[in-house]
């Protein structure tokens, strides 16, 4: 199979893997944000959304599995490419100026690694709901939507988000994680088009701007929730 061989063994193939998985992960980020922003529509709306997802395991588990695969491929290609890149320059320069290369482009692997740990924390925090790491002393798993107790209690996502982000450290780490993620995307989204070859001199400036714009929008969208909570959004929730 030349196709698979070309994709998984050549330098350009690995870049395709990186670009395509990156693209899918960005789409997930957009979708995830759209879901999260429902928090501003009130307790009932976001909890209904959460219930919809959780009550359809035949949807959510393939999606989770897919996301995991994407992430694994994305990280695998990043590690492979980075190791090759390190090997390509065995002797370092005495003086080195990365002319023409912006900060985001030079730190992709580092930002990627930090974002990866952030994602793990985030999953433990809000998905697995490990009590010890939410720093609030409360057990998120025990947050139930009032009136749904019984055989099929619904999870109170709204309360979990608000209580969770009320902790300044948690919010701070979240903003930092999202910030690095968006720095990663400011380069990644535009590179994605480059790596799969959907760029030329005419589209290039536009795509670069779109990438930057998307990164900023995602950043503002995601941080709006912790910032709002810290500024007093949902202060009636205990």
């Amino acid at each position: 199979m030349n196709i698979l061989k070309n994709i998984f063994t050549t330098s350009l193939g690995k870049k395709y893997v990186m670009a395509v998985t990156g693209c899918a992960l960005v789409l997930f980020l957009v979708g995830h944000l759209a879901g999260n922003l429902q928090v501003f529509l009130g307790q009932e709306v976001i909890n209904r959304y959460g219930h919809f997802l959780q009550s359809n395991p035949e949807l959510i588990w393939p999606a989770r599995f897919g996301l995991l695969t994407l992430l694994v491929l994305h990280v695998w290609s990043a590690i492979r490419l980075t190791l090759e890149n390190r090997a390509a320059r065995p002797v370092a320069y005495g003086v080195y100026k990365p002319i023409g290369a912006n900060y985001a482009s030079r730190t992709m692997f580092m930002t990627g690694l930090i974002v990866f740990t952030f994602v793990i924390y985030h999953l433990l925090h809000y998905t697995v709901r490990v009590k010890a790491i939410n720093l609030t002393g409360q057990d998120f798993a025990a947050f139930k939507v009032p009136g749904t107790v019984g055989e099929h209690p619904q999870h109170d996502i709204y309360r979990m988000i608000i209580i969770g982000f009320r902790n300044i450290w948690v919010s701070g780490f979240y903003v930092l994680g999202i910030g690095l993620l968006c720095l990663h995307l400011s380069h990644g989204v535009s590179s994605m088009f480059q790596s799969i070859g959907w760029k030329n001199d005419s589209y290039r400036p536009l795509l670069d701007k779109i990438a930057c714009g998307l990164a900023i929008l995602l950043f503002l969208g995601y941080i709006s929730i912790p910032v709002a909570v810290l500024l007093g959004f949902g202060k009636d929730i205990q």
């Binding site: 030349n2 196709i3 070309n6 994709i7 050549t10 330098s11 350009l12 193939g13 690995k14 870049k15 395709y16 490419l81 090759e84 890149n85 090997a87 390509a88 320059r89 065995p90 002797v91 370092a92 320069y93 005495g94 003086v95 080195y96 100026k97 990365p98 002319i99 023409g100 290369a101 912006n102 482009s105 030079r106 992709m108 380069h187 535009s190 590179s191 088009f193 480059q194 790596s195 799969i196 070859g197 959907w198 760029k199 030329n200 001199d201 290039r204």
Partner: protein, 248 residues
């Protein structure tokens, strides 16, 4: 003006290198950078010391023989300028200038500032040509080439193969070179019959030579003495992808 040079000295590919410091005295701003090095080398020889080796030939920015990473930037960091076209008017009295060879696994040092760039030749040998024998070719005007295609091909073909793109890239990637060479031919009607094969073979050879991967930092484009566009890399990515999807 008087300058201090920190020059990389390395007797051969096997030995360890180190920086040595030299004084460049009475340098005139009209001198080219290489002429300044000539002056320093002349003085070294007059004192019976061995001059440092560096590559240069045409000294007008077209042969691609000259190299040198000057203060951390290949060719010194002036837009569209090769080392041989860099003039001393860009430096000032008292400056310290660090001079290093291209550093990449695929460009092993031969001596001092001279590296072996034959990896580039092998990439061309892998597919950077049109397979036509001498004679028997159709009339030059038999196949019209749109001016836009000819101009774009020329933009790519302007590459002088100096290797600065590799030298500046944090990953020591040769993508700008390979993309320019492949795009030059892939943009022209004459290059179409071998387009897929060319993209695959050249990339394969590039990988075998031990160059790093492109992470689109854009520094290659910034130092390229011929200002080859990053967009050619996108084109090579596209050509390689199409060839791959065809199962070639």
């Amino acid at each position: 003006m008087n300058l201090t040079l920190k020059v990389w000295r390395q007797s051969n590919g096997q030995s360890q290198g180190r920086f040595e410091t030299y004084a460049a005295k009475n340098i005139i701003e009209d001198m080219s950078f290489l002429e300044m090095l000539d002056v320093v080398n002349e003085e070294l020889m007059e004192r019976g010391q061995e001059p440092f080796a560096f590559d240069s030939d045409c000294r007008e920015g077209i042969c691609g023989m000259c190299s040198l990473v000057i203060n951390g930037i290949p060719h010194g960091g002036h837009k569209g300028t090769a080392t041989c076209q860099l003039h001393m008017r860009h430096f000032k009295d008292g400056d310290t200038i660090t001079i290093e060879p291209w550093r990449a696994k695929a460009f092993p040092v031969i001596k001092d500032l001279v590296t072996n760039r034959s990896a580039f030749d092998r990439i061309i040998q892998a597919g950077g040509f049109v397979s036509v024998n001498t004679g028997g070719t159709p009339d030059g005007n038999a196949i019209p080439v749109p001016k836009i295609a000819a101009d774009a091909a020329m933009d790519a073909a302007a590459c002088i193969g100096c290797g600065a793109c590799v030298a500046v890239c944090k990953n020591a990637s040769a993508m700008l070179f390979v993309a320019a060479k492949a795009s030059h031919l892939n943009l022209l009607p004459q290059g179409q019959p071998e387009k897929d094969r060319r993209a695959l073979k050249m990339v394969q050879q590039m990988d075998e030579e031990g160059f790093g991967n492109c992470t689109v930092t854009g520094s290659c484009e910034a130092v390229c003495p011929k200002e080859i566009s990053l967009s050619f890399i996108a084109k090579l990515n596209r050509d390689f992808g199409v060839a791959t999807l065809k199962g070639k």
